[in-house]
Amino acid sequence: MLFLPVVFGLYWYVFKKLRDQNWFLAAASVLFYACWDWRFSLLLVFTTLCSYGTGLALERLVTRRKRMWMSAANIVVNLLILAFFKYYNFFADSFADLLRLMGFLPDFPTLQIVLPVGISFYTFQALSYSIDVYRRKVKATHDLASFMAYVTFFPQLVAGPIERATTLLPQMQKARSFDYENAADGCRQMLWGFVKKIVVADNCAVAVDMIWGNYASMGGVQLLLGAFLFSFQIYADFSAYSDIAQGCARLFGINLKANFAYPYFSRNIGEFWRRWHMSLMRWFRSYVYIPLGGNRDGLNKTLRNIMIVFLLSGLWHGANWTFLVWGAYHGLLMCIALLAGWDRRYNSVVGAGGWLKTSELYGMFLTFILVVFGWIFFRSSSLAEAEGFLSHMISHINITTITVGHRAAMYSFLLVVIDWTCRRREHVLQLNFGGLFQYRWGRWVLYYGLVFLIIYELHQSQQAFIYFQF
């Protein structure tokens, strides 16, 4: 609670020069990260220095071949670290299972590996820099302070948005001045983020945990509600973190890219993926999909590339077959959307012109249901659990009393209504200052109301943000 005000105060009042501000931001960020586990802050610094050094080396190297090798070496080192911490046990167990199926008796050691929080986020961010330098999209920076601040910037360090060097690094290299309006709007965005996290996501989490933990003794309708609630939980949770990160960054004069744009109002799956976890999708498009050929080499290769991107996206989320199935499922949906010619439709805000067409409404409903179905795999701890959950939901679909999740359902419904009303804005509290809100007291009544709602729903057994584990 004290970290942000202290860092904010020192950043603007004590460290007034750009270089000092960057060093301070980097140091504060590493300290922030070290609060989880100081050992992993060394890993963070190593990853940062690795990419920084690679950038400098790439600048000096002239031949394409040497540059390629240097860039590849950096990618391999970073991915090996990621693979070791995140995927070692998964691959070892899966390989052992495969060998067992073939009649062998393998004996791979299972290691007790602690996953460094946010490793997937900062690794991808560091990689984006070295790849962009290799592609000559950004110049290698000699300023270690700004580069450290870019990779380790604490608001987005542990759960994104994953920023590209092309957008964030220049901001770190330019002198920043305090902008009252930007900072005040940042505070409003953070406030809304906390409302989503504590009021909606945490209430949903309690109900979802109970439903998933006891699915075998619950009716189908209750399980269906559980799946819906998880959909709102993960949206409220992750978009809340993004809002808090964006709002917090604005206090330091930094603008992060939006990560969510009301995804559950998408009218097809293509639109959904342009509105959900946008920074990750942008990363995969730039560094995987397009290098693989994108849609330039015919339909078959396009479909292959889509499947690769979504499988990798699933794997990025965690070392579990459930994530791979989730990724494959969305890959298949995207392929179907591509074949049907739906993938590039709907780039505008839904219902921007007033009324929704019936086809848009139908598309929105269908897309939401398809996404909810995918979340069942994402939430389950194993494929067997997902299968059990689904089969129980279908075989016990009789109307039974819903005993769990009323409160969470109410908050989720309110979130949908509010999101729909505010879907043209970057965030819900980006007020237009009309009506009562033109007066300060009118705005403050709203803010105080939200603060007390947060305190009312605050629970000591606070749930960590879901995406911290990725």
Binding site: F178, G213, H459
Partner: protein, 302 residues
């Protein structure tokens, strides 16, 4: 910049002030945690038998029906971790302690910590009123106001008691909580739910480690340890699967092999009937009196 800091300060100060006043107000309301702690600080030297456990013993064992100086130190949702903490908290004061009655049931053997069960408010009370320093002084567990829902219920109860009279603490002077004679709760819904809850349950090693510590503490001090499993309503008990029952019983029997420890499974020997319960697992006051008497008679048999 100055304007921003000023605005933030003006906005935050009333919130902080209200929270502070609210916290002080909440702490001024009498509660069982402070009462039991004060009682034990004062009378630990007189206690001969100490009753530990959760609401099953809190509502089920009345010291007034038992022989000697008995105090009920059980509280709702109390886990073995708290039992051990409380047992040792007053250890310097024990002069006549002969017996400790500790509960062994599915709630304190098969369930994880309170914090992960949504009963974090209880941890707050142990932290504030009994000095259980599991959580830091700066964590939310050190502030009652961090759980406004519980505060609201607490204040409502206080006002109701002030208006209508009655026992605000919810326990008598010896720590027993009389639940009255009125049946409450549905017939089968929560039992169905519990069935689901216990289905995949397994023994939580952390809980057992505290049981081991309690055993050791009693053995070192030459205090008899009586492990008990309280009786349940048949309907509820039948919903528990065999695995759940066995897990609990096995723990009881295992530790009763140690010197100075015995285990009594009241589910197997109790004479309680379905009408003796206010819900599926808590005894009515009259039944609790009879049960306490029954327990006392058994304890007199060496």
């Amino acid at each position: 910049m100055k304007r921003f800091v000023k605005d933030i300060a003006w906005f935050v100060l009333p919130v902080v002030f209200l929270l502070l006043v609210g916290e002080l107000y909440m702490r001024s309301i009498p509660n069982i945690y402070r009462y039991k702690d004060d009682w034990m600080q004062e009378h630990a030297g007189e206690v001969e038998t100490l009753v530990l456990g959760n609401s099953h013993t809190f509502d089920g064992i009345s010291p007034s029906q038992m022989t000697g100086r008995v105090f009920n130190l059980a509280m709702p949702n109390q886990m073995l971790e708290h039992d051990y903490f409380l047992l040792t908290r007053y250890a310097d004061g024990y002069k006549r302690l002969k017996r400790v009655i500790a509960l062994v049931d599915e709630c304190n053997i098969l369930l994880p910590e309170l914090e992960s069960l949504g009963f974090g408010d209880r941890s707050t009370y142990y932290r504030i009123y009994m000095g259980h320093d599991k959580h830091s002084r700066w964590s939310l567990y050190n502030f009652e106001i961090s759980n406004l829902k519980t505060c609201y219920r607490k204040v409502a109860r206080w006002w109701k008691t002030k208006r209508e009279g009655g026992n605000l603490l919810g326990c008598d002077s010896l720590g027993f909580s009389p639940q009255g004679e009125q049946r409450r709760g549905g017939e089968g819904m929560d039992a169905q739910f519990m069935k689901g809850r216990w289905r995949k349950a397994s023994v939580v090693n952390r809980n057992v480690s505290y049981l081991v510590k309690i055993v050791k503490f009693c053995q070192e001090r030459g205090v008899e340890l009586v492990l008990i499993t309280m009786p349940y309503r048949d309907y509820y008990y039948n919903q528990l699967d065999n695995n759940t029952r066995l897990l609990v019983r096995n723990i009881g029997f295992k530790y009763s092999q140690r010197p100075g420890v015995r285990y009594i499974d009241f589910q197997a020997i109790s004479h309680m009937t379905d009408s003796d319960y206010i819900d599926n697992s808590h005894l009515k006051t009259s039944a609790a009196m009879r049960f306490s008497h029954e327990l006392d008679s058994l304890l007199q048999v060496k």
